[in-house]
Amino acid sequence: MVGYLNMQRLRRQRFTAAGIALAAMALFVAACSSSSSGSSGSSSSGPSGTLNGSGSTFQLTFQQTAIQSFKSVQPNMTVNYGGGGSGKGRTDLASNVVQYAGSDTAPIPSDEVANFKGKTVLYFPVIIGPITVSYNLPGIKSGLKLDAPTIAKIFQAEIKKWNDPAIAALNPGVKLPSTAITIARRSDSSGTTQNFSEFLVEGAPGVWKLGSDSTINWPATSRGGNANGGVAQIVKTTAGAIGYVDYADAKASGLTWASVKNKDGNFVAPSTTSATEAADNVTMKPDLTFSAIWQSGSGSYPVTYQSWDLVYQKQSSANVTKMLKAYLGYLLGDGQKLLPQLGYAPLPSNMDQQAKAQLSKIGT
């Protein structure tokens, strides 16, 4: 009996020893990690802490690259951008999960305004980008001329072959094959789809019947790809395919794209300069919302779109205000230099100035 009780006590002692060891290890690890992030902040004078954002996937590459370079400007700040789509970003901002949201749509849609409970939201345009109309026609290089009504008819499956008279009329002298046209479009919802369809609504009124939204009821014969990369893959691997792909992804996949007729009647190829020229011609509203689609300008690319970062005007914390001004100021300043090599276009200078001036409105 005594031996049994001794054994019980021994087992209890072993368990408590193990428990104390585990607790000590956990405390040690926690102390190490907190000390490494806390001590470096005390020496410099910049804002410190964590800033969270989410939303538009159009901005995702830009945000990730800017966050990396921003670390050398403000080493005490950590910025996280979660992506997830413009709808998710606005929802997250409305429920205060994030401090800033990326949105391809501005102003906030009327059915979401109630979620923001009357608080004023500021819009900061940060990025411009062209959408290419890419195709796969062996032997035909970039620069096939297309206009909005023809593109509308192609994507509605009314023009079914490449040697259709409508396409031939725009491209005299080009030998078009009789291959069937395969439409490549997005299977997921996207700001790219929204703006591409908006271009067709404005550029081909009366011809384009499918409306404009982040998801469209495409013809049943079209093929859906996931994200810009998926559509690019369909175009690249299917002879006779045509699809709308972000300029950055089209360049990365080595696709050939069309020169699209703009509002002034010129056929313009997508590029950093033609996109910035389109944005230069917009009339911004006082709250800095606008649309760069179907703008005038002799060298404007008509399928150019934009994205904003949304923040609340009234912030509850002075530190968050400092962090937002530092990071957004960077995006509007040195961050703009990162855009061309990523395949996007920087803001035209007067738009940039007005956005920087709006930074002072963020406050407590």
């Binding site: 009996m1 996937t57 997830g84 789509g85 413009s86 709808g87 998710k88 606005r90 929802t91 849609p109 059915d111 979401e112 299977s187 997921d188 919802s189 996207s190 700001g191 929204q194 369809s197 499918l210 409306g211 404009s212 939204d213 982040s214 998801t215 469209i216 009821n217 495409w218 049943a220 014969t221 079209s222 093929r223 859906g224 996931n226 691997t237």
Partner: protein
């Protein structure tokens, strides 16, 4: 020593009143409360999920009324009818079940009846590996490797049966690598391990005396299976099939990548389509307002369908268990 026996007293006394009626020691009561609260927590979470999703979907339910079962899903025109997705879910799940059940039950019978025990262990191991493959890997393999290859097979079959009355309607053009049928095949791969392992366990519980009795009466192996095994295990196998069905209906990423994303209702199995979990995964990121409410509503509908199927499964299994032991 006396303290030890005192502690063991209430439980050890023979012929005493029901243990719960007496004052239990603190440790026992604490454990009872802990276990009860864990069980209740699961129920509470389930109810909370149902309530909050229905709340967020109520905008869609009240705006459309019975129009939620309409056949047109057009976000640009603010029309949200879910029939195309319910159809897609049903068709892909049906294809998955039709393809997977004969194979799974066959493998289960092979492992219990035909193959010696030493050989069955590696086969079981490989089948379980199929279950471990993540859903997104199935989807990526499907869209990058399987769909392009089988798209050519579809177009050959499609042009061959074009014009024949029933076959043409089922397998004729339009055909596409990413379609109802491809999604059904991928789902069949994914549910085979579950149905196989559950069926195998059910078949293994058939008493050996029944099987040997059938052999003794001169039955062939097939007659033994239909006469001795099937009556005992049909309830359990049905339960396993319905569990697989529930998994196939709810499978999201694999279906989203290979189903073709086209909200159409068509009898052509080789045509692109869409299903409820796939459309939620694809379109939720940019949705807002009524669109978002409609997608959450699709989730509520899917939740309701899977609960109904699970209730049916339990009823069938329960009833056949009673019959089996009777």
């Amino acid at each position: 020593m006396s303290t030890v026996t005192q502690q063991a007293g209430p439980a050890g006394m023979a012929g005493s009143a029901h243990p719960l009626a007496q004052r239990r020691p603190l440790g026992d009561r604490g454990f009872q409360i802990l276990a009860l609260s864990c069980g209740l927590l699961v129920l509470v979470i389930l109810v909370l999920i149902a309530v909050t999703t229905t709340q967020q979907a109520s905008q869609w339910f009240t705006t459309e009324g019975w129009g939620i079962f309409g056949s047109v899903w057009n976000p640009a025109a603010n029309q949200f009818g879910a029939l195309a997705f319910i159809y897609g879910t049903a068709i892909t799940a049906a294809i998955a079940i039709i393809m997977s059940v004969p194979v799974s039950v066959g493998i289960a019978l092979l492992l219990t009846e035909v193959v010696p025990y030493r050989v069955s262990r590696p086969i079981v191991y490989v089948i379980d590996l199929l279950a471990v493959v993540p859903s997104v890997v199935w989807g990526l393999w499907g869209i990058l490797v399987f769909a392009p290859w089988i798209g050519k097979v579809y177009s050959d079959i499609g042009s061959a049966v074009n014009g024949i009355p029933v076959l043409g309607a089922l397998f004729g053009p339009p055909t596409s690598g990413a379609s109802f049928f491809t999604a059904g095949v991928i789902l069949a791969f994914m549910i085979t391990p579950i149905v196989t392992s559950l069926s195998r366990e059910v078949i293994a519980t058939v008493p050996a005396i029944d099987k040997e009795g059938a052999y003794a009466l001169g039955a062939t192996r097939l007659e033994m299976i239909t006469g001795a095994i099937w009556p005992h295990s049909k309830g359990g196998i049905t339960g396993a099939v319905l569990l697989g069905l529930g998994r196939a209906m709810g499978e999201t990423i694999a279906a989203a990548l290979v189903i073709g994303s086209s909200a159409t209702i068509t009898s052509h199995l080789f045509a692109p389509g869409d299903s409820m979990p796939a459309v939620i995964a694809n379109q939720f990121g940019e949705a807002s307002g009524l669109f978002r409410s409609a997608l959450i509503g699709l989730g509520v509908l899917l939740f309701a369908f899977t609960i109904i199927i699970n209730i049916i499964a339990r009823t069938i299994v329960g009833r056949s268990a009673e019959q089996g032991t009777a």
